[in-house]
Symmetry: C2
């Protein structure tokens, strides 16, 4: 199967890029779908699952006591169960279809399936502009608050990957292509990135 993973800085347009690439290539698209599936399975609220999966690490690291081990706390154990479900759903999806997966550390979780890994980033000004253009009505972040939010979300993503792998989130060595979307229209570059992916799959690199 051809698998494209998109990792991205918050506000860089990575999700839109992933969606458009999946449309162009006719691939399945996974993003929140994975969270919904995990929430359904465990009968939890989606927002709760998202929060646990994105912020509960590394408190869920198992702690060894001689020959036994336990978890830091119940939430940690729950987080591991949700993470395990997420892994299963990701692998199932990737075995079934050619697909584009945005986030969810799919680049790490599906590493053995040799995905094409793309990282999307942008300068702060450009990310703030994109966030503001998509803000919910009544959202009133100051510039400083918005910057802090962007940095916090990205720090969470980096922390999450650190929990799963030695590979550093955002370090270009772990990706096939890194695209700076500052001032770029995602719609216009999506066909070019899709072309790159197609070439990689056709030439059997991936």
């Amino acid at each position: 199967m051809n698998i494209i993973t998109i990792s991205r800085e918050f506000g860089s347009g990575g999700r839109e890029l992933g969606k458009r690439i999946s449309d162009i290539l006719g691939y399945s698209y996974y993003d929140r779908e994975i969270i919904s599936a995990v929430a359904d399975k465990h009968d939890f609220d989606e927002r709760y699952v998202e929060q646990v999966l994105e912020s509960a690490f590394p408190i869920s690291v198992p702690i060894s006591y001689g020959k036994t081990f336990s978890y830091a706390d119940a939430t940690g154990q729950q987080a591991l169960e949700l993470l395990t479900s997420q892994c299963s759903f990701l692998k199932e999806a990737a075995e079934k279809n050619n697909c584009v997966i945005v986030g969810r550390s799919a680049n790490i979780i599906l590493e053995d399936m040799n995905p094409l890994n793309i990282f999307v980033y942008a300068d702060m000004e450009s990310k703030m502009k994109r966030c503001r253009s998509r803000a919910a009505e009544g959202e009133t972040y100051t510039d400083n608050q918005l910057k802090r939010k962007i940095r916090q979300i990205d720090a969470g993503r980096a922390r999450h990957q650190r929990f799963l792998s030695d590979k550093k989130w955002g370090d270009k060595a772990g990706y096939n292509l890194c695209i700076n979307t500052s001032n770029l229209e995602i719609k216009a570059i999506a066909p070019i990135v899709a072309d790159f992916a197609k070439h990689c799959f056709e030439s059997d690199v991936k």
Copy 2:
């Protein structure tokens, strides 16, 4: 003018990519041409100029003594003169033509002219393979020697950029696109990268 700069890890195929992009877009191409021009102007041997420009830093940092300043040594002063000439030639070239410039810290030196900056990299195995396929006859590096050579050359490039700028060589934030060429055929991806550049210039991002 449309300016594309290519920075690259040694053995990643960056030079070939730059040449092919310039051919596709009909842009001028600069690489060793800049060294030749500097060597001609100062009446030095090209190899000497190349060596000084790539390895004489940071011994050429001016040292202040009260209100006056001097250089660490004569070679340092000479290095600064050669570097100044390189800057002039780069700027002249970039003002005259649409162009692709490989190396020479053009991404930093031409920063004010808003170039499209591309970084080309690859995993060590792939870089060694590319180096071996282009080795001069009789070249007999062991694997360890070749790895060391690759790392040394890249360390020199990083050091050189550190002398000129706070921006870190190879840090994706300083580039518009970073391409991992591991197992890719440069010939096949050049048209895709050229497309990306064309889009950036046409959409007035650059």
